[in-house]
């Protein structure tokens, strides 16, 4: 299945990037995954593509919150101000769950909020949910 066009993985912890890549590889082998290490890189990556709305179609951002330089919340805030990016679904994946962080993230436009599990198998469930969210968010999601 190729439910989503692309995935932007924003994660500063190298070990977690390996884990997430491993998990994504099992759920969606054919989706291009772009990895960046902090909020600033994430913003640069999206800014470069903002001019071409087609290039950003059908993608999803998987965002860690505690990032160096520019935090996950700041990325959400920035995206909310950028008209071409407002519709891109963002899902937060964080090490320690906190209801207040979750509320804040949802208020800033996040579509999902998950805590990183210690059991690898749980990632597969989480990413299935993430793709479902991405499909629901895309304008032509209903036909897919």
């Amino acid at each position: 299945m190729a439910p989503v066009g692309w995935i932007l993985l924003v994660e500063d912890e190298p070990d977690h990037r390996v884990l997430l890549r491993e998990a994504l590889g099992r759920v969606a082998t054919d989706v291009p995954v772009h990895e960046v290490e902090d909020g600033q890189e994430a913003i640069s990556w999206m800014r470069k593509r903002a001019a071409d709305p087609e290039a950003l179609r059908g993608g999803v951002v998987i965002l860690d919150l505690g990032l160096p330089r520019v935090s996950g919340f700041q990325v959400l805030e920035w995206m909310r101000e950028m008209p071409p990016l407002v519709r891109i679904p963002v899902v937060v994946l964080t090490a320690s769950e906190n209801p207040m962080d979750a509320d804040h993230a949802f208020n800033l436009g996040a579509r999902g909020y998950f805590q990183k599990p210690t059991d690898f198998r749980r990632y597969l469930d989480i990413f299935r949910r993430v793709f479902q969210i991405a499909i629901e968010a895309s304008p032509d999601g209903a036909d897919t």
Binding site: D15, L19, A95, S96, M100, K116, F120
Partner: protein
């Protein structure tokens, strides 16, 4: 105690007991009767003097009435005595100038008696007055010492603003000498002229003030916060003539208060810092646990077949440990959140909370084949939505967990009104808690049965913290082997 005999009048016979005076009176009369015959021959003057003698003595002993009675009685007695010596007694007294003499005796008796009575009365007044004066002086001395030795500054001032009396404490407070204090205008002592106007207004209206706050200025210009308690003294026409009162220097109290406040702020900041530290440490711990558990679970599933039996066992041990560690870190994080999150009390339907928790514990309920039964309608409470969910979730999870394996967990949930509060109860059929262990149950990291049931020992500490933050109360009724009933007492919301 007999009165002091400082007054010579009191030393005379008049204050002798009655019986002594009566004996004395008899003796005097006897002397008179015996002496009458020899003196009679000496002539009328001698008789008059002799008649006068007992009357005066009796008047002195018994007062005006005594003098009158003795004077009157002396007339027939003289007549009798004259008759006895062979005279025409009665005729002699009535006709031959004896009448004037008798009248004189009676009058002198009365006058002496009256003088004696007056003297006695005067003496009594004098004594009373002296006693009163001494008592007054003692009282005055007592209050003077109180005034002088008081550690609170005290003063008496005139209505036109002069200090007329000042104690040592007042002298110390202002730093002026006593002479200087008595010389200056009261207005100079106020740091804020407005204070004095308001003080005068209040005391002139009410006649007194209590703990009236003012700022005074000492000689060196130093300003101190004080409280004045004072009374106005009025003259007979009701005009205020003086003020008298005491001053409390609260600058020191204020400094202590400031110090206590600063220390409290520092402590609060330290506690907050410690909580923030715990929180960030727990967060970082979890970051590494995600890595550890993640890779171990890949090894344990995907690469299971490639490993030898021992390697498989070790990987499983790593996995179990990381899961246990994770539960622990999660609980510490949860405890931190419950301690730090702002509390917003609102009307919460316990029925909704129980439904939500039931959903999140569905797996555990199914796994243990447990039953959760709600008795009657649950009453609404004033609570924080997030906190009450944590409370119910932890209590319900415990109710399912602490049940022996051979028993199916039965959880009963109910509520009832208790005055303005609602008592929410969760009852289980588990192993129960021995009464001596109850206090330990709510302490963080305490586990009563570590070998038998898994857990971190933080659950009930979270419950207690959450309930405490909502202003409620939590407790348990339990018996070893007899199940437990946990209750939460929260302010009820109107139904």
């Amino acid at each position: 105690m007999r009165p002091e005999r400082r007054n010579p009048f009191r030393a005379s016979l008049v204050v002798e007991p009655m019986w002594r005076r009566l004996v004395l009176a008899l003796l005097v009369v006897a002397v008179y009767v015996v002496g009458f015959v020899p003196l009679y021959r000496e002539g009328d003057t001698a008789v008059l003097a002799l008649s006068m003698f007992p009357v005066v003595i009796l008047a002195w002993l018994f007062g005006a009435w005594g003098g009158l009675v003795a004077g009157v009685a002396s007339v027939p007695l003289n007549a009798l005595l004259l008759t006895m010596v062979g005279e025409q007694g009665w005729d002699l007294i009535v006709r031959e100038g004896g009448a004037e003499g008798s009248a004189l005796v009676i009058v002198v008796g009365c006058v002496v008696g009256l003088l004696r009575d007056l003297g006695l009365r005067l003496d009594r007044h004098l004594t009373d007055w002296r006693t009163a004066e001494r008592a007054l002086r003692e009282t005055e001395d007592r209050y003077r010492v109180l005034f002088e030795r008081s550690r609170d500054p005290m003063y008496v001032s005139t209505a036109d603003g002069r200090v007329v009396e000042a104690n040592d404490a007042l002298v110390r407070l202002f730093g002026y000498s006593r002479a200087e204090l008595l010389d200056l205008e009261v207005a100079q002592l106020y740091a804020e002229p407005g204070d004095r106007d308001l003080f005068r207004q209040r005391i002139d209206r009410d006649g007194w003030v209590e703990d009236f706050p003012v700022q005074v200025r000492a000689r060196g210009g130093e300003v101190r916060d004080c409280l004045i308690t004072a009374t106005a003294r009025r003259d007979a026409e009701g005009r205020i003539v003086q003020y008298q009162g005491s001053i409390r220097d609260v600058s020191q109290d204020w400094a202590l208060h400031q110090l206590a406040e600063r220390r409290t702020r520092e402590l609060q900041a330290a506690a907050a810092e410690l909580e923030a530290f715990t929180y960030s440490v727990s967060h970082d711990l979890r970051t590494h646990l995600v890595t550890l558990g993640g890779f171990a679970s890949i090894l344990g599933t995907d690469h299971r077949e490639e490993m030898g039996e021992k390697a498989r066992e070790f990987v499983d041990r790593i996995l179990t440990a990381s899961q246990r560690m994770d539960a622990f870190v999660q609980d510490i994080l949860s405890y931190g959140r419950v301690s730090r999150a702002p509390v917003r009390l609102e009307r919460v339907e316990l029925a909704d909370t129980v439904a939500v928790v039931r959903g999140s514990l569905a797996d555990q309920i199914a796994e243990r084949r447990g039953s959760v039964e709600v008795e009657g309608d649950l009453l609404p409470v004033e609570a924080d939505r997030m906190l009450i969910e944590r409370v119910v979730e932890n209590l319900m999870a415990n109710a399912l967990k602490f049940v022996p394996d051979d028993k199916l967990p039965q959880v009963r949930i109910g509520s009832r009104r208790q005055e303005s509060h609602v008592r929410f109860e969760i009852r289980d059929n588990g192993v129960g808690i021995a009464s001596e262990d109850v206090p330990r149950a709510f302490r963080a990291f305490e586990r009563l049965d570590p070998g038998r049931f898994p857990g971190t020992g933080v659950g009930l500490a979270i419950v207690q913290k959450a309930v405490e933050r909502m202003g409620g109360e939590v407790g348990v009724h339990s018996e070893r082997g007899g199940g437990s009933t946990f209750y939460v007492l929260l302010r009820g919301a109107p139904s």
